[in-house]
Subunit: 194 residues, 2 copies
Amino acid sequence: MTENQPKKTGKSDRTRAKILEAAKLLFAEHGYEGASIRDVAAHASIDPAMVIRYFRSKDELFARAAVVDLQLPALRVIDRNAIGETLIRRFLEVWEGPASGPGMAILLRSATSNEFAAEKLRDVFGNQVRPVIAAVADPADAGRRAGLVSSQLLGLAMCRYLLRLPPVVALSHDEIVQNVGPTLQRYAVGEDAP
Amino acid sequence: MTENQPKKTGKSDRTRAKILEAAKLLFAEHGYEGASIRDVAAHASIDPAMVIRYFRSKDELFARAAVVDLQLPALRVIDRNAIGETLIRRFLEVWEGPASGPGMAILLRSATSNEFAAEKLRDVFGNQVRPVIAAVADPADAGRRAGLVSSQLLGLAMCRYLLRLPPVVALSHDEIVQNVGPTLQRYAVGEDAP
DNA sequence: TGCATTTGTCAACGGCTGTTGGCATAAGCA
DNA sequence: TGCTTATGCCAACAGCCGTTGACAAATGCA
């Protein structure tokens, strides 16, 4: 028997999920270093040792919690003039909608002081954002354009959800769409800079 | 004698400065939690206890290191069409020029997981960014506009200097000015959204 | 020269961290 | 019913953390 992990009966699956849910919550709120295994265990009403038994280490727990699937729409099939609006609406869905988990918050919260989180966030950019832009813009420019789009979106997320800058928190969805949408439109498919 | 701190002879001033310089470097690189007092002491070639003697605690050391003075120009006196360009050029100066210290990097690196740093960053917004915008836009809108400007600038800083997203690192100053300048121009003084 | 103050080193405290191994239950199967 | 396995708690380890106090060397002033 090479497996050290618990078998997958109904019980163990439930506690495993309970631990993961608590971990996502605390990682999203306090970041990697700020959320201790003991905190996670307390929130899951369980012993700290169990956290290690179910996930082999804190790093592995973090890796399981910080899963991001942006599910960006295929921009090629939508109205070319609505690309910016589509992106910003999807952004709001990812950060405020119930379907997407707190994966992005977890990554962004920790990426400034944890190299693994930073690398994973760069992966999200390279594997999920950039390809979508490359499908509607000159592939040679896709990196630059996707980088600009990301800078605006990550900055908005920083100000609104992590830093909680009051005027940015106060923005309505419509205001965000009307102000940031055109920016993303220009970054994604606007006229080239010389 | 109510003072517990060392007197200000030439010697003590030099070590005090040495400690502060090491602290700025490490806080900017690794954030508040990631930079320990022992690390700072080692970088300053000094005993950890001295760090506490010169600055009374790690919190106070951080407060002294995370000092930010953006020195934003008075936008009222410049060409109204060049506001966006002026802002983004000043941004590059603050982050890459030799004059401004690493204060912004220190704050941004720690603001995601340290409430004191977050509060101080919000203060920079309220006391330095917002008033400058309020001088050239409808004061009732200044908060919203300054918030949008900050979202783009903090996001750019995140991607370029902290996360080091390759395509954003590769951008030349001219490319940044030409792409981000118009965004800031519109956020700062562009036509109102309905 | 003698003394008081400053500058610095060393060792240690208490607390928190991730992680481990041992031991008690509880559950499932023969 | 008995036995194996899974699930869980407890105590402890080693390591790092910020911080403290005692003591040594250096410095400056009389």
